[in-house]
């Protein structure tokens, strides 16, 4: 880690933002923020959801003009906003929101707007795309439209594209949120080797372990302000969390203090011989009331498909799902909800939230019968329930009437959780419940799951994030669509990772 | 609606305002009418309040309501939908406001006077002219109007009926066009491809079809003067200035002149008479027309719609340069 030392020795900064302020309506997203990224560094930018990280990224890449303040590259003022070409020479970026174009081919996405002068030669474009992706071991048909890729493949395509620009400064906004362990390792290896050739990175992640693994310097933001910039080595994890949250409380051990599930109780959830040809086969598991069970697996293992089949978003070809003693009609979310299920879907933007509706409406969407009789909906009753959810889940919001589109990612995820809990479910299925959520919010979300279990619900957490799986009483591991391991609580990280990657000891 | 005419010019010779609803402003014929109305209104010293129902009967009803609200003493309508106007006439009758309708005869309801040239007569005149010109043999294409238009339908039905009765040797190819020039041109082109031996064309509206038809024929090399064996006999309808010029130039053979000026003139004449309390009876009038009583509660002044040819030698036809024709009076 000699790079931070050389930075201290007065290398010219690759990029700098000075006194940036940015408002969206009444929201202050950035408040007098300054940031300097030194040449050859891997610079981490951390902060809780809504701290303003992504906003700073869009200002640093010229997508959004700041209200006040200036941006510099290599000591020169930034080019005018209209000159996108000049910006792209100075900085490349993987944005938090995916920016592949679904209808275009993978090859075209990789070389968007730089297909070459004059008439485009599709043959050579495809060849170049193939070479680029081979370097990343992304085995996809470059002629396929990007919409056919998995989320992970799309993310890799974005990363490959950003790194192929030849820019000397690259911003990665939560690039690892959608990647599995191996892909993350490959990304880090590539980042390190690019750093050796003089490329500078600004790296954003909610996984603090990753910050310690690859970064040299870390900047913490909180509430739209810059808090501290320090070499990673000099800032311990406790101090980092304190800087992010503004409080000196450490993280709580979620596993502790929960009563053990009553032995011999009828299972809350029983899955028997579930299968979808080509996706997963013969998956069986049970969750007892008060128990938290994990379902883990690497990308493409089929774990989400299992979860979606349980909750009715998908219809399994074989097998049965029993919820609290009843067998809901397969492929019907309604039936599953009525049987006593609550769930958090994998992607909150797709299936989790109705952005235009209020927090209260979103949180009570699954339980209209609690809002009034004869199909009537009492808005007072609804807002009461919404306010309760805001209190229980510690949602940062102006009130139950605020539209969820105005919330930060972590708080949106909490609303999805509130919706899952609204019907006091007997069974709670959580798919990637903490994706893209900051450490503190993660704690709240998992704590809520634990509390639900303590209250007698059976909880199934489906994730490949080890933090999500820690509170579990046991973890079932899926590999290529088949159950390969059962791990009781107390597993070691490397054991679980090995099982997820299909390596048997 | 007891309301004073606040902003209007106040009382006039007729002792009150007259409401005129124009049926539409997107055809040459009705635009000429729209131009004549204020002209004759001024001559008659009438205070006119005008509206436009844009060929929409619901709008006509709304317009009549608002004209009544403005306290008009008489009303001139040109309902293109002769059935749907009945409730409106009923309302006007209850308010004792006399109505003159122009161009169409309502199916129900009382009307002081209908001023029109019979659309069926147009169709018949066109049929007779073509039938005689073709000597009762051949194929003619008819560029029809819109099925939903009573005028178009009357012309179509009369033309077809007259042909099958009087000239069974003439085959009629009907081409519905929604009064659209491009549709007419396309269908005529297609018909010419399928029937290279076409001998005659009846265009139900000169404004819409004259230029497109001539252009199609020109492209096919079929625009030749009468007498040439390749000549296609064409009769038009409306009598707009361009038609008269085309007749003189020998491009088309004839047209039925629809008296836009007389429509305006006599509509206002009768509405003024109604306000003044005059009464009319069936019989000949002083302006070359006949008043008939097709049903109780309604009189109809059938204005002459002259056939126009180049030299005016065809029986009952006028010369294209006749200054009497409204098409020759347009400045």
């Amino acid at each position: 880690m000699s790079h931070s030392a050389s930075a201290a020795a007065g290398v010219r900064p690759v990029a700098a933002a000075h006194h940036i302020t940015k408002r969206f309506g009444v929201t202050v997203a950035l408040n007098d923020v300054s940031l300097t990224v030194d040449d050859g560094d891997i610079h981490a930018l951390v902060g809780r959801n809504g701290a303003g990280k992504s906003t700073l990224v869009s200002i640093l890449t010229g997508l959004v003009p700041p209200d006040s303040g200036t941006v510099e590259f290599g000591g020169e003022p930034a080019p005018p906003l209209a000159d996108r070409e000049a910006w792209r020479q100075r900085v490349a970026c993987v944005y938090q929101k995916l920016t592949v174009i679904p209808s275009l081919s993978v090859a075209e996405n990789l070389f968007l707007n730089r297909q070459g002068r004059g008439l485009i030669s599709w043959g050579s474009l495809r060849r170049r795309a193939r070479e680029l992706l081979d370097a990343w071991e992304v085995d996809v048909d470059v002629q396929a439209p990007a919409e056919r890729l998995t989320v992970e493949q799309r993310q890799l395509v974005e990363i490959a594209r950003a790194l192929s620009h030849g820019s000397r400064f690259i911003i990665l906004d939560e690039p690892t949120a959608q990647l599995d362990g191996q892909a993350i390792e490959r990304l880090f290896a590539r980042m390190r080797s690019l750093r050796e050739s003089g490329v500078t990175f600004l790296f954003i992640s909610h996984h603090l372990d990753e910050v310690y693994e690859v970064c040299d310097t870390v900047t913490v933001m909180r509430d739209a302000r810059h808090i501290v910039t320090s070499p990673v080595a000099e800032l311990g994890k406790e101090a980092l969390v304190t800087a992010m949250t503004g409080e000196a409380t450490g993280l709580i051990d979620l596993g502790a203090g929960r009563p053990a599930p009553a032995p011999g109780a009828a299972p809350a959830l029983t899955v028997t011989g579930l299968g979808i040809p080509g996706v997963f086969e013969d998956v069986s598991l049970t969750v007892a009331p008060g128990e938290i069970v994990g379902l883990a697996g690497a990308g493409g293992s089929g774990k989400m498909a299992v979860g979606e089949s349980i909750v009715g978003l998908r219809r399994a070809a074989r097998g049965t799902v029993e919820i609290g003693g009843t067998t809901p009609r397969p492929g019907s979310v309604q039936a599953a909800l009525r049987a006593g299920l609550g769930f958090v879907p994998q992607d909150r933007h797709k299936e989790g939230l109705v952005p235009g509706l209020s927090i209260a409406e979103n949180a009570t969407l699954t339980v209209p019968e609690r809002l009034g009789r004869f199909g009537l909906v009492g808005s007072r009753r609804r807002d009461e329930l919404g306010a309760k959810a805001i209190g229980d889940l510690d949602i940062k919001a102006a009130g139950p009437e605020q539209p969820v589109s105005a919330l930060s990612g972590g708080n949106q995820q909490k609303v999805v959780m509130a919706r899952a809990l609204a019907g006091d479910p007997k069974v709670l299925v959580l798919m990637q419940p903490t994706a893209g959520v900051d450490v503190k919010a993660k704690e709240t979300l998992l704590g809520t799951a634990a509390a639900a279990a303590a209250g007698g619900a059976g909880v199934l957490i489906i994730s490949d994030d080890l933090d999500d799986l820690r509170p579990c009483d046991r973890v079932t591991v899926l590999f290529k669509g088949a159950v390969v391991a059962q791990m009781p609580a107390g597993w070691a990280d490397h054991e679980l990772i090995a099982a997820m990657e299909g390596i048997r000891d | 609606a007891g309301c004073k005419s606040g902003s209007g010019g106040g009382g006039s010779a007729g002792g009150g305002a007259v409401g005129v609803d124009y049926p539409r402003s997107d055809t040459d014929f009705w635009n000429s009418y729209i131009k004549y109305v204020p002209q004759f209104g001024k001559q008659d010293g009438l205070d006119l309040k005008t509206t436009n129902s844009e060929n929409d009967i619901a709008k006509l009803t709304a317009n009549v309501q608002s004209l009544m609200g403005q306290g008009v003493k008489g009303m001139v309508l040109a309902p293109q939908d002769t059935a749907a106007v009945a409730p409106t006439l009923n309302q006007l009758k209850q308010k004792k406001i006399p109505v003159v309708t122009v161009d169409t005869r309502p199916d129900k309801g009382d009307v002081y006077m209908v001023v029109r040239a019979d659309n069926r007569a147009y169709g018949e005149k066109a049929c007779k002219f073509l039938g005689d010109t073709l000597k009762g043999k051949g194929k003619v294409a008819m560029l029809e109007g819109d099925l939903a238009s009573i005028n178009g339908r009357d012309r179509t039905e009369a033309f077809n009926q007259c042909m099958s009765q009087n000239y069974p040797g003439v085959k009629v190819i009907g081409l519905p066009t929604e009064w659209k020039g491009d549709v007419g041109a396309n269908k005529l082109q297609t018909t010419l491809a399928a029937n290279p031996d076409l001998n005659g064309i009846y265009m139900q509206a000169g404004g819409a079809f004259l230029a497109p038809t001539l252009n199609v024929l020109k492209q096919k090399g079929l625009l030749v003067p009468p007498g040439d064996p390749k000549h296609i006999a064409i009769i038009s309808n409306d009598g707009i200035p361009e038609e008269l010029k085309a007749i003189e130039a020998g491009q088309i053979d004839a047209t039925v002149s629809q008296p836009a000026d007389l429509y305006a003139k006599y509509a206002l004449y009768y509405v003024k008479a109604a306000i003044d309390g005059k009464k009319f009876a069936p019989g000949k009038t002083d302006h070359d027309s006949t008043i008939v009583a097709p049903r109780p509660g309604l009189l109809e002044d059938q204005l002459p719609a002259p056939l126009v040819t180049k030299d005016g030698t065809y029986a009952g036809s006028l010369k294209a340069t006749d200054p009497q024709l409204w098409g020759n009076q347009v400045k």
Binding site: D223, V333, L353, G375, V377, K396 | T50, G69
Partner: protein
């Protein structure tokens, strides 16, 4: 989980007015309506006479049912262009079935008492077919209803031969002509249906489901809302409303013209959108839609009273609509793409 995190809450607090504003948006057109009323009064004092106001209300009552129908569908994030054809075809078929052959060119298969049920049934059937194609077969709604618009219009021309149906049975013209408590029945019907729709969309499960579906169909489905059923039902309801609107107009005009409803869809969309209903679904209110159509008809009425030259009415009316659209979008605050 008891630490209060006031630091983060601060910026959020600043947004407290947002939902209030959203509610105010419903009233966005009220100032415009007042302005038009004042302008109208100066153009011609008749404008504010009771009779004239009743006329305006009655004239918009039929088409306002189309606007209501379209607004419901737009809130679900869908579109139905075919409503304008249903508006003409439903009463058209009823008239065709009940009128005697001969003069009135019907087929006379049913007695006059059937005319209202048949009209409504035709509406429901058309909505059901739209639902079948859009909901069941998952075809694009714009495309399906564009096709249906053309077919249904053609059907009405076909059965009527382009002619107007008249001499309608008295049951069929009753609603469009009756006067209840001193006001035309169609005004009452329009107001009651709007009031009902405002309550339903604001305060019932079914109504809120429309907003959820329009806002995010997948999320609505994941929340256990029977998306397909609600959508299909809304399409049927909308066509029913269109048929009812057509019936009212038929009654007022005592006839069914072959062109009834032609081109109305432009006005309907303009009204809904001026009234704040979003084409992207999930946003807007029924009350807003009502102010939209009311405004358009008031403008029409003022232009008529002003005696604008016939040939310029179209351009002027269009310009006012365009300006209203622009202003309504600007006051609604957001750039819309």
């Amino acid at each position: 989980m008891t630490e209060t995190q006031t630091a983060m809450a601060a910026p959020a607090r600043g947004r407290i007015t947002a939902p209030r504003l959203a509610r105010l948006r419903d009233l966005a057109l009220v100032p415009a309506i007042i302005v038009i009323a004042i302008v109208g009064y100066f153009v011609n004092p008749v404008f504010l006479h009771w009779d004239n106001l009743v006329n305006v209300l009655q004239q918009q009552s039929e088409i306002s049912l189309l606007v209501l129908a379209e607004a419901l569908i737009l809130i679900c994030g869908r579109m139905d262009l075919s409503l304008e054809s249903t508006f003409g075809l439903a009463p058209g078929i009823a008239a065709w079935l009940v009128l005697a052959p001969g003069v009135t060119h019907g087929v006379g298969w049913l007695s006059g008492a059937w005319s209202i049920p048949v009209t409504l049934a035709i509406g429901a059937v058309i909505g059901w077919i739209n639902g079948l194609l859009i909901v069941r077969f998952r075809l694009n709604g714009f495309i399906v209803t564009l096709g249906m618009l053309i077919v249904l219009r053609g059907l009405l021309t076909g059965i009527s031969g382009g002619k107007t149906f008249f001499n309608l049975p008295s049951s069929m013209v009753y609603l469009g002509n009756a006067v209840w408590l001193g006001l035309p029945a169609s005004i009452w019907i329009c107001l009651v249906l709007y009031a009902l729709a405002i309550v339903v969309t604001g305060y019932t499960r079914w109504g809120r489901a429309l907003y959820a579906i329009g806002g995010n169909t997948d999320a609505a489905r994941a929340a256990g809302i029977r998306v397909d059923r609600v959508l299909w039902g809304t399409l049927v309801l909308a066509s029913l409303l269109a048929a009812l609107g057509g019936l009212l107009l038929t009654g007022r005009l005592a006839s069914v013209a072959a062109s009834q409803g032609n081109g109305a869809i432009f006005t309907v969309f303009a009204a809904a959108v001026i009234g704040g209903v979003s084409l992207n679904g999930g946003k807007g209110t029924i009350f807003g839609a009502f102010t939209g159509i009311l405004l358009l008809y008031m403008i029409q009425n003022v232009l008529t009273l002003a005696g604008v030259p016939a040939q310029w009415i179209g351009a002027l009316n269009g310009a006012i609509i365009l300006i209203a659209l622009i202003i309504s979008r600007i006051t609604s605050g957001q750039a819309q793409e």
